[in-house]
């Protein structure tokens, strides 16, 4: 514990300790009773080395000494007052500014104080300056750490924290003393512990590693951080590892906002298409219903005519006049037409209602809000849903062929995956539209299969393909080839984030100019945290 406290001190910015030692050294070098360092605007670090003298009195002497404001070395062998002897050298910054003085003094007068002794004082003054410079660097370093939301640390060979920068308190809101001396792995969430210990243990010289993990706190939510660790070379200095913890909270918030933008963009575009998909059946269901109301009216008239004839002639056959009435009513109702059209109007209306209902159902399933935890979902069902939702985007440019093999339920964030599938479908449709394809020639093939321990989902189109030179750029955020206003280039970046980061899978692109593009998503069936 005491070791860790000393080490933690060396990260501090308070000057006192180091200057005290240098003042003592100066007094010894000059064989004087008193040595001190005075800094402009910061006061004194005083040391008296003669046991016979009263330290309080000596300190008062230093305080009052005119030497503290020196700009050139000065030696006074016999001042006649108190102190009788005094010598000092200015503390000079690199730019020539005088920032203080290193001084020595005696109560007794001296016979001589030669150049060698003045040179020794000047050498010590330079040491004081390098201390100051070191402190300055530390302060800068600390300011940078604070601004970047970072914490510097060092662990010993056992992985225990031996040094920790003060920004730790800013990051966690907790005192450093609670963390120093403890293994770093104890401070991260249980899920990250194994990985963090492994990272700190076998680091060879010059190696460095990075890992995203979360810091747990006694109170408050865990903090997502990036942990970067490098090994220290074995030698005279500290051993073990040094590293930086970077606060990822802001970055995560930004990523979420961007992901949200991408989702909104896709949804905005979809909702226009869905409005159309709903408006169409509503139009003909409305028309058919109006027709049915009219048809009912005509039929009713006809029925009433029949009834009138029946009432009057219960026992005898209808008269000629009645036959004519019936014929006129039948002609008005156009029975042949009604009997052909009414069933068809009813069937089409029911079909239209079914279309709207299934679309609304798909919308509900599609926009299913993911819980934070993953849950088991049927990928084939999800793909069918997404194709329904995106129908208006694809239906004029391609036939969508579903080639879905039996796949086991997958533990996943299905809402996020739906979004990925949607982006791929919309991209394929856009590519086909640009190519001027239509239903007869355009094709989007969506397939699923199991390959080893992975579920493989592919979305392939037969549009123009993606030029080789941009194939590795398509997953970069904000990369887009679409015209302004058509896309912001976040779709595939989001897709990779979802597949890669959230599911431990891969998404790759195979494309050949003139033939088409195929996106292949591999999702491990037994991803991290799944018990086999």
């Amino acid at each position: 514990m005491s070791q860790s406290e000393t080490h933690s001190e060396s990260f501090e910015t308070t000057p006192a300790g180091a200057f005290q030692e240098l003042a003592t050294l100066a007094a010894h070098a000059a064989r004087a009773d008193l040595g001190w360092v005075s800094l402009v605007g910061q006061g004194l670090a005083c040391a008296s080395v003669s046991p016979g003298h009263d330290p309080q009195r000596l300190r008062a002497l230093a305080q009052d000494s005119p030497l503290s404001g020196l700009v050139e070395p000065l030696v006074v062998l016999d001042a006649g007052g108190e102190p009788r002897f005094a010598a000092g050298v200015p503390l000079m910054a690199a730019d020539g500014r005088v920032v203080g003085a290193l001084c020595v003094a005696d109560l007794a007068a001296r016979a001589r104080f030669d150049d060698t002794e003045v040179a020794a004082l000047a050498a010590l003054a330079r040491l004081v300056m390098s201390q100051l410079r070191l402190q300055d660097l530390r302060r800068q370093h600390e300011a940078v750490l604070r601004a970047a939301g970072q914490v510097c640390f060092r662990t010993d060979t056992e992985g225990a924290l031996v040094e920790l920068s003060p920004s730790w308190t800013d990051l966690t809101g907790q005192d450093r003393s609670a963390a120093l001396g403890r293994p770093l792995a104890d401070l991260v969430s249980p899920a990250d512990r194994v990985a963090v210990s492994a990272m700190l243990a076998p680091l060879g010289e010059g190696r460095s590693e990075r890992l995203d993990c979360s810091l747990v706190r006694q109170s408050g939510p865990a903090i997502p951080v990036e942990l970067a660790v490098g090994s220290l070379p074995d030698g005279l200095g500290a051993s073990g590892a040094v590293g930086v913890l970077t606060d990822l909270r802001d970055r995560r918030r930004r990523e979420m906002a961007n992901g949200h933008d991408a989702k909104l963009e896709a949804l905005g575009r979809l909702s226009a298409g869905i409005a159309h998909e709903i408006n169409t059946p509503i139009q003909f269901v409305g028309d058919n219903t109006r027709f049915l109301a009219e048809a009912y009216e005509d039929m009713m008239q006809l029925l009433l005519t029949y009834r009138g004839c029946l009432d009057r002639s219960a026992s005898e056959p209808p008269s000629q006049e009645q036959w004519e009435l019936i014929a006129a009513a039948e002609q008005k109702a156009d029975l042949a037409y009604l009997s052909a059209e009414v069933p068809s109007a009813v069937a089409q209306s029911l079909e239209g209602i079914e279309r709207v209902a299934s679309l609304v159902q798909a919308m509900k399933a599609f926009s299913y809000k993911d819980a934070v935890e993953r849950s088991y979902a049927d990928l084939n069902e999800a793909l069918r849903t997404t194709c329904t939702v995106a129908r208006n985007e694809t239906k004029y440019v391609a036939e969508v062929i579903l080639d879905l093999e039996e796949v086991p339920p997958l533990l996943c964030h299905i809402g996020d995956l739906n979004q990925v599938f949607l982006n791929l479908l919309v991209n394929a449709a856009d590519a086909l539209r640009e190519q001027g394809e239509d239903l007869a020639t355009g094709e989007i093939r969506v397939s699923t299969r199991v390959d080893g321990g992975d579920v493989v989902v592919t979305v392939a189109d037969n549009a123009g393909g993606i030029p080789e030179e941009i194939q590795d750029k398509v997953f970069e955020p904000f990369f887009t080839t679409k015209e302004v206003g058509r896309g912001t280039g976040q779709g595939l970046a989001l897709a990779r984030a979802v597949v890669h980061d959230k599911h431990g899978g891969t998404i790759t692109l195979c494309s050949e100019l003139g033939k088409g593009s195929e996106f292949v998503i591999r999702l491990p069936l037994f991803g991290p945290g799944v018990v086999r």
């Binding site: 408006n279 139009q283 269901v285 409305g286 028309d287 109006r290 027709f291 239209g352 004029y396």
Partner: protein
């Protein structure tokens, strides 16, 4: 006399079945044809006369905008109606430059049959077909480049000032006419009659206006090279704008909005021959007939409120008596005759002193206690200055 013929085009057969059934009551009044593709529609039109075509916008192969553009060129006498379920602005703006009227899917009960009724009325007039061919071919009315620049500049200002936008639109008569056409269709979200340019701009929204003028600059171009023609046209413009300013004061409060729009748009018939679609396809076009009547028919086709259409149609028609107040037509006639003595006179008309005297003696104008001739001079001077 043949029955009015109506053609419906939609790639969705169920839509056509629904329309066919719901319009069954009109089967004795109209010849109706239902086709599922643009190509089939063009083929049909090539051998069968037709008065109104109602088309979906989004269709595989030839889409609605393309089909209507073809019909505009080959069969300008056919009134073009867009029936679309689309909600994006982009699609709406594309439709707006090829269609005469716009209906939303789903459209309300009798809206479709009422619309067809309106568009086929008056077709038995002997010169009706000729007029319709002339009016029907107009997609956009030309706007002078500097007028369009003024509109664009007012929209590009860092702090957009609605007043400045509206003034710029009013002075670009062709644009004002298009905005009133669109604002009067439910397609663009308005369910009420729109009778002023201000109302049109606010109900369509500035983004739609922006999209509209950006859609295809060629559509709006008034490429007038002949200086005599330009002088003539500028005079027409000046007259319309002065008349709109003056009639606002002459008309009764209830009729003022209609009168103002009628005055502003009274000469769209003279702009029509300069429109891009007239110039690009001259072959087979009959010589322009009665440009004042073409203007009225154009406004009718575009769905402007009836009092406006009637006032424009009657603006050269002298009337002896206005027993029930001036109305829109009387107010417009009075404004035009007053302006004949000013720098904003109608270059195609002469003075009608005795008729003007009778109009100025009308109780509605006497009651205003105003020297209308002097007022007309002032308004004309202001309008000329505003346009300079």
């Amino acid at each position: 006399m043949r029955k009015p013929a109506v053609l419906f085009v939609d790639d969705e057969a169920s839509i056509l079945d629904g329309i066919r059934r719901s319009l069954r009551g009109r089967r004795h009044d109209w010849d109706m044809e239902f086709l599922t593709s643009g190509a089939a529609a063009l083929e049909h039109l090539s051998h069968t006369p037709c008065d109104v075509v109602v088309s979906d916008m989004r269709m595989p192969g030839m889409d609605g905008a393309e089909l209507l553009a073809h019909i505009c060129r080959r069969h300008p006498g056919v009134a073009r109606v867009v029936l679309s379920g689309h909600t994006e602005r982009e699609a709406a703006v594309r439709a707006s430059v090829v269609g005469h009227r716009f209906l939303n899917k789903p459209c309300e009960g009798d809206a479709l049959s009422e619309l067809v009724e309106q568009l086929t009325s008056g077709m038995d007039d002997p010169c009706g077909a000729e007029l319709r061919r002339n009016a029907g071919s107009v997609r956009c009315l030309p706007v002078l480049p500097e007028q369009m620049q003024r509109v664009a500049a007012s929209l590009a200002a860092p702090d957009i000032e609605l007043g400045a936008v509206i003034e710029a639109v009013v002075n670009s008569i062709g644009l004002a006419a298009k905005l009133l056409q669109l604002a009067n269709s439910s397609f663009f979200g308005s369910s009420q009659r729109v009778t002023s340019v201000t109302h049109a701009v606010t109900s369509l929204g500035l983004p739609t206006l922006q999209a509209l003028i950006a859609t295809d600059p060629g559509l709006w171009a008034a490429d007038i090279t002949d200086p005599a023609e330009l002088t003539q046209l500028t005079a027409v413009w000046r007259h319309s704008i002065a008349s709109a300013r003056l009639v606002r004061e002459l008309a009764s409060p209830g009729n003022a909005p209609y009168s103002e729009v009628a005055a502003l748009l009274q000469d769209v018939g003279r702009l029509a021959p300069l429109s891009a679609s007239w110039r690009e396809e001259d072959a087979g076009r009959p010589a322009a007939v009665h440009s004042d009547q073409v203007g009225a028919d154009l406004l009718h086709l575009w769905g402007l409120p009836r009092p406006i259409v009637v006032a424009v149609a009657e603006r050269y028609l002298p009337k002896d008596d206005y027993p029930y107040g001036l109305g829109v037509s009387g107010a417009l006639r009075a404004a035009n005759l007053l302006l004949q003595g000013t720098e904003c006179a109608d270059p195609y008309d002469t003075t009608h002193e005795s008729e003007l005297g009778r109009l100025l003696a009308h109780p509605q104008l006497v009651a205003a206690d105003c020297d209308w001739r002097l007022r007309a001079q002032r308004v004309a001077a202001e309008a000329a200055e505003a346009l300079a």
